[in-house]
């Protein structure tokens, strides 16, 4: 029995009974760990405990939600259909940039189309779907590994085009030598180039509490309560947004993708993953299925990008480096490719423990040693730390380097998982690709109809 099996066996049966309990249990556990740790840190630093705890939980919820969204979208491509799409960052970029350009004011620098934000978001999804459809065309001819090269190449092309100064739209005077506004049939816009571009909103949840002139009725109540508890307003809006992402969008993605998966459509996708020639020999035109899956999956990645990178108020092309794609792949692998619940669990575990965990632990270690031994000595480099022969210096060096060491940790976890739990931390899961329970043989029974 491997360590992973033991860990899974230690999870109480109550949580394993159904997927909602499992995810809720995981989130609860995460919140308890983060809550206790941030409360401790706040106590040590004499900061407001409620503010620190809520802030920490809000930020971890946000990360869990966005990684879960993107892992779910990727699961449709890779887990279900076996399409090795490693251009996720590129599709996210298309979504965020399309939204930003559509929504930016025509008089801004770079200029945009000035559409209302909801229209811009829908437009961005359509554009991402079209770009995804185009990316799928080579997929019709190519085997998995070549498709991977095409998608990662496309992703980099998108990023570099967005980075290029030719389309930046920052020099709006047509007479100037550096004029770089894109002009398509009189519609002018720009990408911002390397300087990046403003996204329509920083703090999308703020609209619930604030109007341009003051507070909404809800805002007055909530902000009042938050103020009494010592919680800042930005923490309240961030927390609200994270909660909307988790409860609204992750749930919507999950329901949509479960419906796609548990249907005859999803069955053909699974068949494509297993053996495309068999599917074709049974009369399924797999090319159509692949194009559709690419369009839907890419649109979902675009929306994931919008909800994540589009929520900071500003974005630049370097946000969409291929490393983002690999993070999302890691999240999916950790949770278990092919399973929608696995995607959510993977997103949560990746964000809370692999990505943010090391930083949190380092913070705790620093605080504890501060209490015990005073502040940790810091060494300028590895050699200096080693030759000091002082365990505290070693510890200090470790804590200082945690931003880099977390990648080593990430790699080690991946290697371990690949060898011992290739189906993800929850092990192999059977999500039957049908809208009814296939084992149930009643012709018009009650048991078979429920699909969710």
């Amino acid at each position: 029995m491997s360590l992973g099996d033991r860990a899974w066996a230690a999870v109480p049966a109550y949580f394993k009974a159904n997927d909602v309990r499992l995810v809720a249990g995981l989130l609860l556990g995460t919140y308890v760990l983060y809550g206790v740790s941030s409360a401790f840190l706040a106590a040590v630093n004499n900061a407001s405990m409620a503010n620190a705890v809520i802030n920490e939980i809000a930020s971890i919820t946000f990360l869990i939600a966005v990684y879960a969204l993107l892992a779910l979208a990727l699961n449709l491509h890779w887990g279900y259909t076996g399409l090795f799409n490693i251009g996720i960052a590129g599709f996210m970029a298309v979504g965020v940039y399309a939204m930003s350009i559509l929504a930016a004011s025509p008089t801004a620098s770079p200029p945009g189309l000035g559409l209302p934000v909801p229209v811009a978001v829908v437009g961005a999804l359509l554009i991402t779907a079209v770009v995804g459809g185009l990316a799928a065309l080579p997929a019709l001819q190519l085997d998995a590994d070549y498709l991977a090269i095409v998608t990662v190449g496309l992703s980099e092309i998108i990023r570099l085009v967005l980075n290029a100064s030719y389309f930046a739209g920052t020099v709006t005077d047509p007479e100037a030598s550096g004029y770089n506004v894109v002009d398509v049939f009189g519609i002018t816009f720009g990408t911002g180039g390397g300087q990046g571009i403003s996204t329509p909103s920083s703090g999308p949840a703020r609209a619930i509490y604030e109007t341009e002139t003051g507070l909404t009725p809800i805002g007055e109540v909530v902000y009042g309560a938050a103020d009494a508890a010592g919680v800042g307003t930005s923490v309240v809006t961030d927390g609200t947004y994270a909660l909307v992402l988790l409860l609204g969008f992750v749930t919507a993605y999950y329901v949509l993708l479960s419906r796609i998966g548990n249907s005859p459509f999803g069955r053909v996708l699974k068949a494509i993953r297993e053996d495309e020639l068999v599917a074709r020999s049974l009369g399924k035109d797999t090319r159509l299925f692949k194009i559709k899956v690419f369009m839907v999956g890419c649109a979902l990645m675009g929306l994931g990008g919008i909800l994540w990178q589009g929520s900071y108020g500003y974005v630049n092309p370097n946000t969409f480096r291929p490393i983002v794609t690999f993070y999302i792949f890691t999240a999916l692998i950790v949770g278990g490719a092919g399973s929608n619940t696995g995607s959510v669990v993977g997103g949560a575990v990746f964000a809370a423990f692999l990505l943010e965990g090391p930083r949190q632990v380092a913070g705790l270690v620093t605080a504890v040693s501060q209490l015990l031994f005073g502040s940790l000595p810091s060494a300028p480099n590895f050699y200096a730390a080693m030759v000091s022969l002082d365990p505290l210096t070693w510890l200090g060096y470790l804590v200082d380097s945690v931003a880099y060491l977390k990648f080593v940790f990430l790699g080690a976890v991946l290697v371990y998982l690949m060898q011992n739990r290739p189906d993800g931390i929850m092990g192999h899961r059977k999500e039957t690709a049908a809208s009814v329970d296939l084992s149930d043989r009643t012709v018009r029974g009650n048991g078979g109809e429920s699909d969710e």
């Binding site: 949509l256 419906r259 796609i260 249907s263 005859p264 459509f265 999803g266 069955r267 053909v268 699974k270 068949a271 993953r273 297993e274 053996d275 020639l277 068999v278 599917a279 074709r280 020999s281 049974l282 009369g283 399924k284 035109d285 797999t286 559709k292 839907v296 092919g338 059977k430 039957t432 690709a433 049908a434 809208s435 009814v436 296939l438 084992s439 149930d440 043989r441 012709v443 018009r444 078979g448 109809e449 699909d451």
Partner: protein, 292 residues
């Protein structure tokens, strides 16, 4: 031997001479028009080259409706390539394939399968990470839920579910017929070789075919299961299905097929009833490795 030269002039034992003459001097359309309904599959002068190797070199034959026809020949005779050309996996370099009087040469595998010509594979290709039930449910053609909109939209999904319940019933009946219903929940990848062959045939049947092309259906199957498979094939023939089997086992073909086509070096060497084939010295020579 006379059949060493390629071309449509190749005399084929089973084809009536006058019909053959007609096919030769008429265009492909005429051949299509004249394909009688009792001949669902007609292959004319099929050619396929891979680089310098000519795998199929002017093969012509036909399969009668409601028959079990065997396609035999030594290794490298071009049987599997012929199969792949008929089913659209390979595009032939020349010649024509007609199914139910319509030319299907060069169509894609799904188009051909949707016309009712469904194949199985030499090495059973199961969808291993899918259960036996899922494998079976995949096959029925034109399912409502194969359209993405129907699968996800609340109102439309009810129709999908209704159809799935009907299909589920048909799937269980077919599994019972093939006596693999006890394996229904199992992953296809966990089945034995023989069980896979049964599943593959059952799955092909769910695709609502008119004619089934079976590529070595008995390879690696134990005698009990082989008997079971043969019984099913004979039952289905009585129900009106047509079979074309590619097989290595000469005895098996001779005992179970009404009609046998022998391929050698990319074209049809002989064609006729098992008795005629047994007495054909060219066939004996080809199998015993005589100079051709």
């Amino acid at each position: 031997m006379s059949d060493a030269d390629d071309g449509p002039e190749q005399p084929v034992a089973a084809t009536p001479p006058e019909e053959l003459a007609e096919t030769q001097d008429s265009g492909t359309e005429r051949a299509a028009r004249e394909t009688p309904p009792s001949i669902p599959l007609r292959v004319r002068n099929l050619r396929k080259r891979f680089g310098g190797i000519t795998a199929v070199d002017g093969a012509s034959f036909e399969v009668e409706a409601g028959s079990v026809t065997g396609l035999i020949g030594p290794n490298g005779a071009g049987k599997s390539t012929t199969f792949n050309c008929i089913t659209g996996v390979h595009e032939p370099d020349g010649g024509a394939v007609y199914f139910d009087g319509e030319e299907i040469t060069g169509l894609s595998p799904p188009e051909i399968a949707n016309r009712g010509l469904v194949r199985t594979f030499q090495i059973a290709r199961e969808l291993e990470e899918m259960s036996v039930l899922e494998n079976m449910m995949l096959a029925p053609p034109h399912q409502r839920g194969e359209k993405l909109v129907n699968a996800v939209t609340p109102g439309l999904r009810d129709d999908v579910i209704e159809q799935e319940i009907e299909l589920r019933e048909a799937v269980w009946e077919t599994l019972e017929l093939f006596e693999i219903d006890h394996l229904a929940e199992e992953y296809a990848g966990n089945l034995s070789g023989g069980q896979r062959k049964l599943l593959e045939l059952a799955r092909a049947l769910m695709a609502d075919p008119e004619m089934l092309l079976l590529d070595e259906p008995f390879a690696g199957v134990n005698p009990t299961l082989e008997e079971k498979l043969l019984d099913r094939i004979h039952d289905l023939t009585e129900q009106g299905y047509t079979f074309l089997l590619v097989e290595h086992d000469m005895d098996l073909i001779m005992q179970n097929c009404e009609h046998v086509i022998v391929m050698h070096q990319g074209n049809v060497l002989a064609s006729g009833t098992p008795a005629e084939i047994r007495d054909d010295e060219r066939v004996v020579e080809a199998y015993l490795g005589g100079e051709v």
